[in-house]
C-alpha cells in the first residue's frame, strides 16, 4: 500500500483500536512499511516525511503517539518534540525514536530532546509492538494519574469550602498550614459556645493525603454542632472519639488537642491526646509560662481501658497567648536532613515572645529552614492570643496563611 506523505495521506482504518500514531520518516519506502505494520497492529496512522509536515499533521489531528526517525530534516527533532509536549491540553503523547545505531551519545540526545523510548533499526513488527505496548501502558498510567490529581484538587476545594463555612471567625487568631499532599490530614476547627467561650481544636490524622483527610468532615460536623449547642468539651471529645471508632480502620487515628478559652479571659482548659506540647506564653514577661504535654491516647484508638476526656484547667491572664502545632512542624527536615526540632522552636519563642511577634518569627524561620522543600508531613501552627478582640463576635476574617 503506497500512500504519499502529506495532508491527504490520512489513512483511517475503522478496525483500529489503539489510537493514532504519527509516523515521521524521510524514507518513503520505510514510511509505507511502517504504515502497514502499524495498521496490522491495530493503529491508525498519520504519515509525515519531514518535521514541518509532522507539526502540521499533529496540529490538525488527534495523535496518541509519535514514532520518528532520529535524523529528521526540517524542524529539528528537539523543536518537534517541544511542540508536541507543550500541546494537547496536557495530554501525554509518548515519542518513540528510531535510531540506526545504539550509540550512547545519540540515545542520550533522544532522551534529552524529550523522547520516551528508542528502537534500533531494523526491527520486526513484534519488537515494535512490544515497545509501543510499553509506551501505551505508561501513557495510560500518566492519564490516570492526571485525572486523579484533577479530581483531588476539585475535592480538596470543596472540602476547604465546607470546613470554612463551619468555623467560628476568630479575630487575631493566626494559622499556618502546609500540606504534604493535595489533601491535608491536619485540621483546625473553631467554635463559640452559647456562653461566648472560644473552642479551638487542632487535629492530626495518621499519615497524610486523601486517606488522612477522609475523617476531617465528620469530625468538623460533630465539633461544630455540639459546641454551638453548648455541650461541654468532654462530651464533644467523647462523641468525636466514638464517631472515629466506627469510621476509622485499626491503624488509623486522630491526635487532637482541644483548648477552651473562657469568655472572662481568666480561665482556660485543655485536653491533649497525641499532639506536641501546647504552650501558653506570658507576653509581658516574654516567657513560656505553661506547657501542656499530651497525657492521653489519640482519638479513634480502641482501648479496653476507660478513656478520660477531662480537661485540665489553667489560669490565664488577658494578653497571654496559646501556641499549638502539629508534629509536622518540628519533624520537618531541611535539604541537609536536619530536623527543625523542639529546641529551635523554644529558642525562637523565647527570643520573640516579648515583642509579640512569635507567630511571624516561627513562620519566617520555618520557611527559611525548609528552603522551598515540600514538607514530608502536614504542618500546622496555630496562635491564639487571649485578648478581648479574640473573644468578640466576628469582625474580620481570620488571618490564614495557606499554601
Amino acid at each position: 500500500m503506497s500512500i504519499p506523505a502529506g495532508h491527504d495521506s490520512i489513512e483511517l482504518n475503522s478496525a483500529s483500536q489503539r489510537g493514532c500514531v504519527l509516523v515521521v520518516e524521510t524514507d518513503a519506502a520505510l514510511r509505507n512499511e511502517l504504515d502497514s505494520q502499524l495498521g496490522a497492529l491495530g493503529f491508525n496512522t498519520l504519515l509525515a516525511g519531514s518535521g514541518a509536515e509532522a507539526v502540521t499533521l499533529y496540529d490538525q489531528n488527534p495523535v496518541d503517539m509519535v514514532i520518528m526517525d532520529y535524523v529528521t530534516p526540517g524542524t529539528s527533532a528537539r523543536n518537534m518534540i517541544e511542540h508536541i509536549k507543550a500541546d494537547k491540553d496536557d495530554q501525554y503523547v509518548p515519542v518513540l525514536f528510531m535510531v540506526a545505531q545504539a550509540h550512547e551519545d545519540i540515545l542520550q540526545e533522544c532522551m534529552a530532546a524529550g523522547g520516551d523510548d528508542f528502537i534500533l533499526k531494523p526491527f520486526t513488527p513484534a519488537i515494535l509492538n512490544i515497545r509501543l505496548a510499553n509506551l501505551e501502558q505508561v501513557r495510560d498510567l500518566r492519564n490516570l494519574y492526571d485525572d486523579m490529581l484533577h479530581e483531588q484538587t476539585v475535592a480538596s476545594h470543596i472540602l476547604t469550602a465546607a470546613l470554612s463555612a463551619r468555623g467560628a471567625v476568630v479575630h487575631d487568631m493566626q494559622v499556618m498550614s502546609k500540606s504534604a499532599d493535595i489533601f491535608s490530614g491536619d485540621l483546625v476547627l473553631t467554635a463559640r459556645n452559647p456562653d461566648g467561650d472560644l473552642l479551638v481544636l487542632l487535629a492530626d490524622f495518621t499519615g497524610h493525603g486523601l486517606t488522612a483527610a477522609i475523617g476531617v468532615l465528620p469530625v468538623a460536623d460533630v465539633f461544630s454542632a455540639m459546641a454551638e449547642k453548648g455541650f461541654n468539651p468532654q462530651q464533644i471529645l467523647n462523641n468525636i472519639h466514638q464517631k472515629l471508632l466506627t469510621l476509622l480502620p485499626t491503624g488509623m487515628f486522630m491526635a487532637a488537642c482541644l483548648v477552651k478559652i473562657n469568655k472572662d479571659l481568666k480561665h482556660a482548659s485543655i485536653w491533649n491526646g497525641g499532639i506536641p506540647e501546647v504552650l501558653l506564653l506570658d507576653n509581658r514577661l516574654g516567657k513560656i509560662k505553661y506547657r501542656i504535654p499530651s497525657s492521653h491516647l489519640p482519638l479513634g484508638i480502641s482501648c479496653s481501658a476507660d478513656r478520660s476526656f477531662v480537661m485540665e484547667k489553667i489560669e490565664i491572664n488577658a494578653g497571654d497567648q496559646f501556641i499549638m502545632y502539629s508534629d509536622g512542624l518540628t519533624d520537618a527536615t531541611n535539604p541537609d536532613g536536619a530536623m527543625f526540632g523542639t529546641s529551635r522552636l523554644d529558642l525562637l519563642i523565647e527570643d520573640s515572645a516579648s515583642n509579640q511577634r512569635v507567630f511571624t518569627a516561627i513562620v519566617d524561620a520555618f520557611e527559611l529552614f525548609c528552603d522551598d522543600e515540600n514538607p514530608a508531613d502536614d504542618v500546622t501552627l496555630v496562635n491564639i492570643p487571649c485578648n478581648s478582640s479574640t473573644m468578640l463576635p466576628p469582625r474580620s476574617l481570620q488571618d490564614v496563611i495557606h499554601e
Binding site: 492530626d204 495518621t206 499519615g207 485499626t250 491503624g251 488509623m252 487515628f253 491526635a255 491526646g273 497525641g274 499532639i275 506536641p276 504535654p293 499530651s294 497525657s295 492521653h296 491516647l297 489519640p298 484508638i301 482501648c303 481501658a305 508534629d327 519533624d331 508531613d377
Partner: protein, 119 residues
C-alpha cells in the same frame, strides 16, 4: 533490609527489628514480618526499636495493627529499647497505655528470647 524478622526455635517469640526510619515506606515489610509466619497461638512479638531513629504516625498505626493481630491470637506485643527520640514519639501518643515498653535489650535464652536484667 530495614525490617528484619527472626523466629525463636520454640516458635513462641517473633523478633521484629527495624533499622533507620520506621515510616509508611516499611508498612508492607512490617506486615509481612508478622503475617507470613505459620500460625502459632500465644506468640510474643518483640518490636526492637534500638536501631530505629525516627517513627511517624503511620508507624504508630502499624503497631496498633500488630497489637490487634496479636490480641486475636492471644499473643502480646513488647516494644523494646526505643532511642530517646523514638521514645518521645511513643510518649506523646501515650502508647505506654497500650504496649509494654521495655528498655532492656533482648537476649536469647533456651529456645526463646528474654529481656536481660541489665538496663
Amino acid at each position: 533490609m530495614p525490617v528484619i524478622q527472626e523466629i525463636s526455635s520454640d516458635g513462641k517469640h517473633v523478633l521484629i527489628n527495624i533499622k533507620g526510619r520506621f515510616d509508611y515506606k516499611v508498612s508492607q515489610d512490617f506486615r509481612d514480618a508478622y503475617r507470613n509466619i505459620s500460625a502459632h497461638d500465644s506468640v510474643t512479638y518483640h518490636v526492637n526499636l534500638s536501631e530505629t531513629d525516627f517513627m511517624d504516625s503511620s508507624a504508630l498505626g502499624m503497631l496498633l495493627l500488630l497489637r490487634e493481630h496479636a490480641k486475636c491470637r492471644s499473643g502480646k506485643v513488647i516494644i523494646s529499647c526505643p532511642s530517646q527520640e523514638v521514645d518521645k514519639i511513643l510518649r506523646v501518643a501515650n502508647f505506654e497505655q497500650l504496649f509494654e515498653i521495655v528498655i532492656t535489650p533482648l537476649v536469647t535464652v533456651g529456645g526463646g528470647y528474654e529481656h536481660s536484667s541489665r538496663a
